[in-house]
């Protein structure tokens, strides 16, 4: 039986892994050389976060080694939210997802820097600068392509934001563990994070002259292993080499 802390770390790790892979699909195909390199570097950072989180699960909670957790699991055991599985689409959607996810990620790690789970707090403090850059990257592009962009670029940003919104709300699922996590000083909870995220996103949207979408039902299910049709093909591709010889030393 997993604890609330284990579930928290696993969903964070799965989100980071799957989004890292999606981001890395832009490598070599980005809209301009400099941005291709920057986005690929951000993808690598996310993969690093996933590895560090799987390592904590391995060290503290007897989970398998990070590689086995990342590449040796079935789709139904992944607890990533559906938001991170969605295909990249065009660069507008990828940027908006990067912005919405990284705003939450920055705030989440900020909260975790004071966690009573010491390895988690240590990791949160270690990656602070990295996350700050990711957020700065995302915010700068969003504003550039919206309030400072052309009519077309702004319309694309708004459309991508509207499409992403119900999935983005799924990042803050589930809230059942909030009370337990908060009582133990592990994490203030998904609700507290969502509140902070909404304030931060609204602030940047105001600067970008984007309209914060009206809430529709959040796309849930990912945390319970119910995924979109896009996750399985992605896992097949991501784990192809690993599955040839799971015991290989790299």
């Amino acid at each position: 039986m997993s604890t609330a802390t284990q579930r928290l770390i696993l969903r964070m790790a799965d989100d980071e892994l799957i989004l890292a892979h999606r981001h890395s699909e832009w490598t070599g195909m980005g809209p301009l050389l400099e941005e291709d390199i920057a986005f690929s570097s951000i993808a690598q950072d996310k993969l690093g976060h996933a590895q560090a989180l799987y390592q904590i699960l391995h060290d503290q909670f007897e989970a398998p080694v990070p590689d086995a957790q990342a590449f040796g699991r079935n789709e139904a055991t992944f607890t990533c939210c559906q938001f991170v599985e969605l295909p990249n689409g065009e660069y507008d959607f990828s940027l908006v997802r990067h912005f919405l996810f990284d705003t939450a990620e920055y705030l989440r790690y900020g909260m975790l820097a004071k966690s009573t789970v010491e390895p988690l707090a240590k990791l949160a403090r270690k990656v602070h600068g990295e996350l700050k850059y990711h957020l700065y990257h995302a915010q700068t592009w969003i504003i550039q392509l919206s309030s400072q962009g052309t009519e077309e670029s702004k319309a694309r940003m708004q459309t991508a934001l509207n499409e992403a919104w119900p999935y983005a709300l799924g990042m803050f699922d589930p809230k059942d563990d909030d009370a337990a996590l908060s009582a133990d000083g592990v994490f203030p909870g998904e609700q507290a994070l969502e509140d902070a995220w909404r304030a931060s996103v609204a602030d940047i949207c105001a600067k970008a002259t984007l309209v914060v979408p009206t809430d529709t039902a959040a796309m849930l299910g990912g945390r319970k292993g119910f995924h979109t049709e896009y996750l399985q093909p992605m896992l097949d591709e991501m784990t192809e080499v690993y599955r040839i010889d799971p015991s290989a030393e790299w």
């Binding site: 699909e25 050389l33 390199i37 920057a38």
Partner: protein, 134 residues
């Protein structure tokens, strides 16, 4: 119509026609971002050294992109970006203004025969040191 099958599944998914005529697309000249020169400072107080350039639509984005191109490895304290258009330079045809004539060797440090004086000075210092010790 056959499409390109690549070892990279991402390329295969693009459904690119295999036998499409190779048309050269010439981008309009102004359809490019401007460039910014990047200066890297390894630590506080050190000189900013020119390391290259980046394409970007604004100075903010130039700084943002320069960070990943030139500061993702090794030690960095800060970066400068300067619009290439703001760099004042000689035209390449004027490179001859930097040529010096052989007759002006007296302007070069190497032209001064100070080596002997330096050696003599060092020797004197050493001798003094020995005297103090004795």
């Amino acid at each position: 119509m056959a499409t390109i099958i690549s070892l990279d599944p991402r390329v295969t998914r693009l459904s690119i026609e295999a036998d499409a005529p190779a048309e050269q697309v010439i981008t309009p000249e102004m359809d490019q971002f401007q460039t910014y020169e990047v200066f890297h400072q390894p630590k506080s107080g050190a000189h900013h050294v020119h390391v290259g350039s980046v394409h970007a639509p604004t100075p903010e984005l130039a700084l943002l992109l320069a960070k990943e191109q030139y500061a993702r490895r090794g030690q960095t304290h800060n970066l400068w970006v300067v619009s290439t258009a703001h760099v004042i330079t000689m035209s390449s045809g004027d490179a001859d203004v930097f040529e010096t004539t052989p007759e002006k060797k007296y302007r070069d440090v190497a032209a001064y025969m100070v080596r002997n004086k330096v050696d003599a000075f060092k020797k004197a210092q050493n001798t003094q040191g020995e005297e103090h010790q004795s």
